[in-house]
């Protein structure tokens, strides 16, 4: 016990030393006298404005901490459609754009603007698929998502998302870390840092990837912990074969033998920690121990063989394969096992129309077929098990697509496509604390700009953290002289209109 206490104090001391930078020293030099004088007037904020304390015993860095205020949801399942699906073919109904199909695009759309690939004066491209109203809410949806349509009254569609990035990697980083550059902590890392994980035998933040032929543009920093301790980073698991590579013991090594090896390694790490006091050493010990526990738990959580045939069919899951359907089913199993943040990536939505698989008329149709049924099954499954009440599901890409027909190099292209469009895109949320069966925000008649209720990504982040029980301004980590936060330095707004 005393040893643990020492560890905790050592950890705090080290953090304090690390936090004292040259800037602090110079600041004190210049302002020290003034500070002494003004001390009474500007005493450190206490009570309601004091920084929240996220200190834990470094040996159990994922232990559960209560949220700032009672939360609406306990976990998040984020379904990222990598490459960015076209909102104009799925959720954003634009009959007037259809009327102008084939016309030259207005000069104001392109004058002085920089687009990713479009050159010269492109033609307008009307919606490729028919739209209709669905559900009791009468929400507009295209005919490409027949299964999701069944759950339309559970969705909260935001049609007025905007971003300031028009290339995949920075746009994806902005979605998942709040910043277009690498080095920032991802949403899942912030959430596990703030709340810990209910299940100490599984990582609190798990990433599942499908359609890996086209990999993540921004790569692993999408689930990296950035400046947060590395224990909070996402762990990418596979839905076929060993869930985590190199987690299982080699063939001739028994579990007891592995335990002995770990004990020896732990002992050496403890010595190193006593000598240098770096909390990352304790984190390392904790991670070895978790990996040992995961050997049993992770295989069980990922193993969808145990699911009844009817369930597999509902998802369209086929055990032994790597697919979005399998990942959706695994996501439900992880949600049941107390995993805090479950991130799915399904790639291949980048519908430029350059190769055939990127055509709106081919690639997008395939992606819809791969994802529609499993997504709807996940929603229905969570709902019937009472889990949708305290789970938040987010679906979306990293930006939108242009109402203009892409003409790469100024040429008409063989397959039909749309360029990257940061000005507006559609996402949907479902689950605890969010209104059901509503559409929020509007784009203009051409689907080019937001006409009503714009939502920045930082607003989405602030809203997600609010649902998880945090004021986004107070989920902080001190780094480089700043109280870092997910939403960055620009003001973010909790989108109160979509809260139930």
């Amino acid at each position: 016990m005393a040893d643990r206490k020492d560890q905790a104090f050592g950890h705090l001391d080290l953090l304090k030393i690390q936090a004292d930078t040259r800037r602090h020293f110079l600041g004190w030099g210049a302002g020290g006298l003034g500070a002494l004088f003004m001390h009474g007037a500007f005493a450190a904020p206490a009570g309601e404005n004091a920084p929240l304390n996220f200190n834990r015993n470094p040996a159990t860095p994922l232990s559960v901490l209560p949220p700032q205020f009672p939360a609406k949801v306990k976990r998040v399942i984020y379904l990222h459609m990598g490459g960015s699906p076209s909102q104009l073919e799925l959720f954003d109904h634009k009959p007037i754009l259809a009327k102008f199909h084939g016309h030259d695009c207005p000069e104001s759309f392109i004058k002085g603007k920089r687009l990713a690939f479009i050159q010269g004066i492109p033609k307008l491209l009307g919606p490729m698929f028919p739209f209709h109203r669905a559900g009791k809410s009468g929400t507009w949806i295209s005919d490409r998502l027949p299964h999701l349509e069944g759950a339309i009254d559970d969705l909260c569609i935001i049609k007025s998302m905007k971003t300031d990035q028009f290339n995949h990697a920075p746009a994806q980083l902005l979605v998942h870390t709040g910043d277009p550059r690498t080095g920032h902590a991802s949403l899942g890392s912030w959430v596990t840092y703030g709340l810990g994980s209910e299940n100490q035998n599984l990582p609190g933040f798990i990433v599942l990837i499908s359609n890996g032929g086209t990999t993540a543009n921004a790569g692993k920093p999408l689930w990296g912990s950035g400046f947060l301790p590395s224990v909070y980073q996402g762990v990418a698991c596979r839905s076929a074969g060993e869930p985590v590579l190199f987690l299982d013991n080699p063939k001739s090594v028994s579990r007891a033998e592995r335990r002995k090896v770990l004990d020896a390694v732990d002992e050496i790490n403890q010595q190193t920690y006593r000598e240098f006091g770096n909390p990352e050493t304790v984190t390392r010990i904790a991670q070895y121990e978790m990996a040992f526990r995961m050997q049993l738990e992770a295989s069980d959580a990922m193993d969808i063989h145990r699911e009844p045939k009817a369930v597999l069919e509902r998802y369209g899951a086929e055990p032994g394969k790597t697919s979005y359907a399998n990942n959706c089913l695994v996501a439900r199993r992880l949600a049941e096992r107390g995993v805090r943040y479950i991130q799915l990536y399904h790639w291949g939505w980048d519908s430029h129309g350059t190769p055939v698989d990127e055509g709106l008329n081919v690639g997008l149709v395939k992606r819809c077929r791969e994802t529609d049924q499993p997504t709807a099954a996940l929603l229905a499954d969570l709902k019937s098990r009472g889990l949708l009440e305290d789970t938040l599901i987010v679906w979306g890409g990293e930006f939108g697509r242009t109402p203009m027909w892409e003409n790469r190099g100024g040429q008409e292209m063989e397959f039909i496509g749309r360029d990257h469009h940061p000005n507006c895109f559609s996402i949907w949320l479902a689950g605890g604390g969010v209104k059901r069966g509503i559409s929020y925000g509007e784009t203009d008649d051409m689907g080019y700009e937001i006409a009503r209720n714009p939502v920045e990504l930082r607003d989405l982040h602030a809203t997600m953290l609010y649902l998880l029980g945090f004021d986004h301004r107070r989920l902080n980590y001190s780094y480089q002289g700043l109280d870092q936060k997910l939403t960055g330095v620009k003001p973010a707004r909790i989108v109160s209109e979509i809260l139930a």
Partner: protein, 319 residues
């Protein structure tokens, strides 16, 4: 000669009266000219000497609640106390009505000739558009609010305008009061510590600002049974959420569950509980959701809960 010389010199002097008259005339002419060329200055003068009353908007008026905040968000950084581009200020009711160096920007009741509305309605690329290109344009709702306000006479007293877009509600973050929370937690703090040590990870406070508790034994599986839940009963009155899914808990725990008088959410999926436990929940008035997937609980037993508006998952006719 000498006299006339003296008198001539005298006649060359202006009398004090004439002198001060001239100064006053020039001053008035100057002020008058300034008032003509800069109406804002004119009103300032008139209001300053009390010849004109300063228009005030009531705090409860549509203007104060809905219009002024829009100006504050989008306009006053250039048309406010720090800068007054085109001599226009939009940071008070009087200044808004007064306008700038190009005359009034608002004509009450006359939407078409109100320059302010014209400017904020121009397409973003227009050189005359306000706010200028690069700044955040007004939302459609904000434009509508200003338009309706002008159309209804740009009043400072009118309270509500029918058909106005709904005001945006900002989320209020509950304020933390650690001292108060600690006080609320104190009576059960010792018990809580002891039980947290005995059942690691099972009991947590609902939030940092709360003394209410959540219990989750679902990850303990069959190793958590009726006796263990019984051990938590000293905390029962504080428990607002209980997840016992997959545990060995059965109907013997019904009295403990019934003692959780503030329970909002109860999960019993995959347990041996039956209708008897559900009947014991009749008094749980705060209950909002019950999950009994994969149990022997029947739809009949759940009917009263459903009738009360409790969300029920599983059980009998459950999916």
């Amino acid at each position: 000669m000498g006299d006339s010389g003296i008198s001539g010199r005298r006649s060359g002097h202006l009398s004090a009266f004439v002198y001060f008259s001239c100064v006053a005339l020039l001053t008035l002419a100057g002020v008058g000219l300034a008032m003509l060329t800069r109406p804002a200055f004119g009103h300032d003068m008139l209001q300053w000497i009390g010849l004109e009353s300063v228009p005030q908007a009531q705090a409860t008026s549509f203007y104060a609640r809905r219009v002024a905040p829009v100006f504050e968000t989008h306009c006053t950084s250039c048309h406010g106390d720090k800068r007054q581009k085109s001599d226009l200020r939009l940071d008070s009711f009087a200044a808004v009505l007064r306008g700038g160096k190009h005359d009034a920007v608002i004509h009450p009741g006359d939407v078409k000739n109100s320059e302010l509305l014209v400017r904020i309605s121009l397409p973003a690329l227009d050189d005359r558009a306000m706010p200028p290109s690069g700044k955040t344009p007004l939302t459609e709702d904000e434009k509508t609010v200003i338009k309706l306000w002008i159309a209804h006479g740009a009043s400072g007293s009118l309270r509500d305008i029918p058909g106005a877009p709904k005001p945006v509600v900002e989320v209020e973050i509950p304020k933390l009061d650690p001292a108060r929370t600690e006080k609320q937690r104190a009576p059960l703090a010792a018990q809580m510590l002891r039980l947290q040590k005995r059942f690691p990870g099972v009991i947590t406070y609902e939030a940092r600002d709360s003394a209410d508790l959540e219990i989750d034994a679902s990850l303990k599986g069959r190793s958590f049974g009726d006796a263990d839940l019984q051990a938590l009963s000293p905390l029962a009155a504080r428990i607002v959420a209980a997840n016992l899914s997959g545990t060995a808990v059965g109907d013997a725990s019904a009295p403990v569950l019934a003692a959780m008088v503030r329970l909002k959410s109860l999960r019993l999926s995959g347990t041996k509980v039956s209708d008897a436990t559900i009947h014991a929940l009749d008094e749980a008035k705060t209950l909002r959701s019950v999950t009994v997937v994969d149990t022997s609980v029947t739809a009949r037993a759940l009917a009263p809960l459903r009738a009360r508006g409790v969300a029920v998952y599983g059980g009998g006719d459950g999916p």
